[in-house]
């Protein structure tokens, strides 16, 4: 694989890596730090990449490793949901509702254990097969499945019982305090 092709595939992988890093770190700024560091490491350790394997899988692993290293060294793994970024959408009302709903989802994922969160991100956000996630994380399939199941059930529970899981001392973008959303929290596309 030539350098040019390697770099082109690295660039092509950036949106997915950034999305994964956003899920791990909880903010886009931290995500960009992670992805930048991952790119630098990938270019520095280019010879470790096995041609014929998927570059993006190798990069997911590097992002995750750097995240773990940093968290271990600097602070306990925690995420500040107040820094979660918002994004532009379509119509104003629908946009506000889906923004709130997705921010709610991100908060719920942020309080999962790092192990559960990582598997959930790789499988249910990045769309990887169980086998791919297992290879990236160096875990047996059974561990992937049990962490994933626990993550998904915890997330579902959090989304259906917002009052018990929301930290009311954090900033509340709706300004209205807890509302009785019942099972209608998520507007699914």
């Amino acid at each position: 694989m030539t350098d040019a092709v390697f770099e082109r595939e690295l660039v092509a992988a950036l949106p997915r890596l950034r999305r994964f890093a956003f899920g791990l770190a909880g903010s886009l700024d931290e995500a960009d730090d992670l992805v930048q560091a991952a790119c630098e490491r990938a270019l520095a350790r280019r010879e470790q990449y096995e041609p014929g394997t998927r570059l993006v899988s190798w990069m997911y692993r590097i992002v995750q490793t750097i995240w773990i290293d940093r968290a271990r060294r600097h602070r306990p793994i925690s995420v500040d949901p107040a820094t979660l970024a918002e994004y532009p959408g379509g119509d104003a009302i629908g946009e506000a509702e889906s923004r709130l709903a997705l921010a709610e989802v991100r908060r719920a994922i942020a309080v999962l254990s790092p192990e559960q969160r990582t598997v959930l991100l790789l499988v249910s956000v990045e769309g990887l097969a169980y086998r791919e996630a297992a290879e990236i994380l160096g875990l047996p399939m059974g561990t992937i499945m049990s962490r994933l199941a626990r993550a998904r059930l915890a997330l579902a529970k959090a989304l259906q019982e917002p009052e018990t899981h929301r930290d009311l001392s954090r900033d509340d973008p709706s300004g209205k305090g807890p509302s009785d959303k019942g099972a209608q929290v998520i507007k699914l596309r």
Binding site: A4, E7, V11, A12, R18, G23, A101, V105, R150
Partner: protein, 233 residues
Amino acid sequence: MNDLPLNLDPELLVAYVDKELPPAQMAAVEAALVHNGAARETVRQLRLSAAAAAHAYDAALNELPDRLLLAAGAGEPPPISQVKLRRQIEPRRRGAPLRRLLPLAATLAALAIGLAGGYELRARGVGSAGPGAGEGYAPAAAPPTDPLSAAFESALLPALDDGADGQALAYAGKAGERGRIELGRRFSTGFNVQCREFTRSESRDGVASGAGGLACRGADGSWNVMLLPAVGS
């Protein structure tokens, strides 16, 4: 098929929901779910959370910051106009709407001057190492090094033959950059060369630009494409 009741624990059910089980097991789980309301509820929860998570971080997919592009080795994006364009060629008349871009005189001038130096789009089985490789497109000039330009070529080439006048095509790069082609009229020049006008507008890093385009067929059937940046761009 064994007769023992399946233990429908969450690990099995998540694999069922995610279609990670072999077909025989999928069928077995499906059959067992008929008689197990609690497991069906678990399946519902597992589907709900998957759907909720899937798009929760989509914000990260848009508008990559420059520092990531640089870190990945992308460097500066190349200038929009890929063509070795002679500036003597008449740009569009100031104030003329973009879609009536090229008066015939300018078109013929462009042909006479620009054809040989134009940018070739050619459908070919074997490509170069550029981004078009493997898709059957092999630019004769320097291949585009950025995804948006490659996407432009891939969108334009089939449309030149098959697209209707006025048809608009959208394309996008890998980092949120977008482009739009609007197909114009076909015509033949005095040299019996088949041509087609089009316009192109692109947005990179929030900066919009427009260009008029002209594609003409060479003798071997390949398209030569010329881009005339709009006045002021």
